[in-house]
């Protein structure tokens, strides 16, 4: 059994429904490539991914994690993230892309925006989303996804034997995958600028071409990490929080990000009086 077959076997265990699909006429096609090609050719395969999700988050879990839910269409937050998703899709012309979500300052809600943007992509049966936790100093994804224990990004970058499939986890939402930050390291920033990280990003981009990859980045105060991550990203979203970000901070962030990649500003956490039932 080859290494790829081992990985696929493990992934099958995780996802349940993924099976190696034989490619007609191609005997020596690698198993991973065959899977991607099959998904690209048959979107219903992607839709069926949810059928085999090992454990889905309940509505209460999603509400507790403050993740939008497809059923609650009256929620204005859902409308906002759908709109944001549409903008990304329009900008990328339907191609999968890497979106870096960063914040003007700490606690601006960039992780919230990142996970909900991923969830919005996952609403669409023809798309999948992968959320990467690159906010290494203050990771958050592990707090809400099921089966968060296990290797994450840092472990993958640190351990050459670790397989990529080993760090991609179901997020508890159909068509939504996540990579946690992993075990904390002393100097996590160095891993982001490593060659392995670059290869990882290229691999993800190529191997999971139907996926929109959302990178939950650190705030703009970690400028070095942001510069590295923005190189991998196609688009950058900057999150500014209501009553927190100043005009000067926003101007500094805008100067640090290339205009070509800058998708825009997300003004987060505007006060909203909910329906109290």
């Amino acid at each position: 059994m080859s290494k790829i077959e081992k990985a696929l076997g493990k992934a099958r265990l995780d996802r349940g429904n993924l099976q190696l699909v034989p490619v007609p006429g191609g005997a020596a096609t690698p198993a991973g490539t065959a899977l991607v090609a099959h998904r690209a050719a048959h979107p219903e395969t992607i839709a069926n991914m949810s059928a085999g999700e090992s454990k889905l988050l309940t509505p209460d879990d999603l509400s507790a994690a403050r993740i939008i839910q497809h059923e609650r269409i009256e929620d204005p937050v859902i409308q906002v993230f759908r709109g944001l998703r549409t903008k990304v899709v329009q900008q990328s012309q339907g191609q999968s892309s890497v979106v870096l979500v960063t914040a003007v300052s700490k606690e601006s809600g960039s992780s919230f925006v990142a996970r909900n943007l991923g969830a919005a992509f996952a609403f669409d049966a023809g798309k999948t989303a992968l959320l990467m936790d690159c906010n290494l100093k203050n990771p958050s994804i592990h707090r809400w996804i099921p089966h968060a224990s296990g290797p994450g990004l840092m472990d993958y970058l640190d351990n050459p034997d670790l397989d990529l499939a080993g760090i991609i986890r179901p997020a508890g939402i159909p068509r939504y995958r996540a990579i946690t930050a992993g075990a904390p390291r002393k100097i996590p920033g160095e891993y982001l600028s490593s060659l392995k990280m670059r290869r990882l990003m290229e691999t993800i981009r190529i191997r999971y071409s139907e996926r929109y990859i959302i990178v939950d980045g650190p705030p703009m105060s970690d400028l070095a990490d942001i510069r590295v991550l923005s190189e991998f990203a196609d688009y950058v979203l900057i999150v500014a929080r209501y009553g927190r970000a100043t005009s000067g901070q926003i101007a500094s962030c805008l100067n640090a990000v290339s205009d070509r990649k800058l998708l825009g500003i997300v003004f987060n956490d505007e006060p909203y009086f909910p329906r109290l039932r």
Partner: protein, 512 residues
């Protein structure tokens, strides 16, 4: 941060919700503070009275232009000064019972200042003076206001009488002074006129004419004198020349006649005798003597002429022409002397006339001065006499209280209901301020705080796309807490309003 009105309203609503605890806290605190203040705020009772300054009584039209009524406007303006004067305030302190505790001077001063602060004096129109007094005791407010009006009227009438009396005294004193001045001027005029009797109308013209006549006379006499002197000189010369001619004609002629006779005798003798004949020699000798005599005569005449002396010669004196000239010269000399005397006399009289004219001028100036003083003093005196009579009438009007008087138009009444701020004002004010102050503070924060609260402001300021404005997403626990919080805040607001209403009702029912 510059914001439009719509943005400001939107941001304000967001901020009100965002800072709901602060807003409700301030609302409750302000309402409670207002209720507490309203509860301890002392009640005040206001009594007022109106004083009419009656300037249209029956006497005034009769005395129009004669008596001068006191200006009403001045009364209105001065009412405050009169009422707040020490004299009235001392009486008010006594009347109001403030002196019962025997306050010292400093405490009295403080009490007076407090009373002044609680007293309002308004001039309503031209003729009404309104006095309002506020006190925590209704009875005392009534008594004090009543006393204010009473004392003000007394003081004003007394002041008015004193004023008109002082005016009369002053005018009378002035009239006396001018009468004295007039008397003095009259005496000086009489003295001047008696000292200058010829100082009458036309005298100056006469003096001028007289001076002119005298000057003409002097000029004429001077001219005549000059002519007479010239004629005298001419006559003197003529007299001298006639003497010479006469003298020359008499002696030399006689010598020459005798020489001619002797020459004819000599010629005759020479016909008969030789030159040595004694007769001839004698004749020749005689002729030589005569020639010498002629020479001696000529020399003598020359000496006289050089010495300038008139030669007196009996022969000349006997000359009729000489005598005629001498007579004319004598007469001329007499005329000269007469003319000189006349000129001196005229000059003397001219000097006298000039002196008289000078005196006349001085007298005229003094007379004009005295006359002017007299006329001015007389006019002023007559005017003062009229004014004195007017002042006397005004004084009598005040004494008889028939002039413009002060009457109580609306007497003070015992105030039954408290005035000023009452409890409802505090309730309403607390509620209003409880809303306005937190809102105002939030508006100030919105305008001054550099932190961004409007998404579109980012796009405007940085020319960047705001791709999404994400509302706050409420987690279930947050929602639960929010429900509790909203309930608590509503309870706080409702409780505050209810408390205000309950306290108000209790106040109305006089339970509190």
């Amino acid at each position: 941060m510059q914001m439009h009105t719509e943005q400001m309203a939107s941001a304000l609503i967001h901020e009100l919700f965002h800072s709901r605890r602060l807003v409700v806290g301030l609302f409750v605190a302000l309402n409670v503070a207002a209720l507490a203040l309203g509860s301890i705020w002392p009640k005040s009772y206001t009594a007022s009275t109106s004083i009419l300054v009656d300037e249209r009584n029956i006497v005034q039209p009769l005395m129009q232009g004669t008596a001068v009524p006191t200006e009403v406007a001045d009364r209105g303006r001065n009412a405050r000064e009169v009422i707040f004067g020490r004299k009235i305030m001392d009486r008010i302190l006594e009347n109001g019972g403030w002196l019962a505790s025997h306050p010292n001077a400093e405490e009295k001063e403080r009490l007076i200042e407090e009373i002044k602060k609680r007293t309002t004096i308004l001039s309503a129109g031209r003729t009404i003076i309104k006095i309002e007094y506020r006190d925590s005791d209704a009875e005392r407010a009534f008594r004090t206001t009543q006393k204010f009006a009473e004392l003000f009227i007394q003081e004003s009438i007394a002041a008015k009488a004193a004023e008109s009396s002082a005016a009369f005294d002053f005018i009378d004193k002035q009239a006396q002074e001018y009468q004295d001045k007039l008397t003095r001027t009259e005496a000086q005029l009489a003295e001047l006129r008696s000292a200058n009797l010829d100082a009458r109308a036309g005298t100056e013209a006469e003096v001028t004419a007289r001076i002119g006549e005298l000057q003409t006379r002097i000029e004429r006499a001077t001219q005549d004198l000059k002519e007479a002197e010239i004629r005298g000189a001419a006559l003197e010369k003529q007299v001298s020349g006639e003497v010479e001619v006469t003298t020359a004609a008499t002696r030399e002629g006689q010598f020459r006649a005798r020489i001619a006779d002797l020459q004819s005798r000599l010629d005759t003798l020479r016909l008969s005798y030789h030159d040595t004949h004694p007769d001839i020699v004698q004749v020749k000798q005689q002729m030589r003597d005569l020639v010498e005599g002629i020479n001696a005569e000529r020399e003598r005449r020359e000496q006289y002429r050089r010495s300038g002396l008139a030669e007196t010669d009996q022969s000349a004196l006997s000359n009729p022409v000489y005598q005629q000239l001498r007579r004319e010269a004598s007469q001329n000399q007499l005329a000269i002397e007469a003319l000189r005397g006349r000129i001196a006399d005229s000059q003397q009289r001219l000097l006298q006339e000039i002196g008289r004219g000078r005196l006349l001028h001085m007298g005229d100036a003094r007379l004009a001065e005295l006359t002017r003083d007299y006329q001015v003093n007389r006019d002023i005196f007559q005017d003062l006499l009229r004014r004195r009579e007017n002042a006397r009438v005004s004084m009598n009007l005040d004494v008889e209280r028939q002039g413009p008087t002060l009457k109580i138009q609306e007497p003070a009444t015992l105030p039954l209901a408290p005035s000023g701020l009452n409890f409802w004002h505090f309730v309403a004010g607390g509620t209003l301020l409880g809303v306005l102050i937190p809102t105002g503070l939030l508006m100030v924060r919105l305008n001054l705080d550099p932190r961004i609260r409007i998404g579109s402001a980012i796009a405007t300021q940085h020319k960047v796309t705001v791709v999404a404005v994400v509302p706050h997403m409420w987690a279930p626990t947050e929602l639960k807490n929010l429900r509790l919080e909203i309930m608590a805040l509503s309870l706080a607001v409702g409780g505050t309003v209810a408390m205000a209403m309950v306290v108000s009702v209790l106040r109305v029912l006089k339970v509190l």
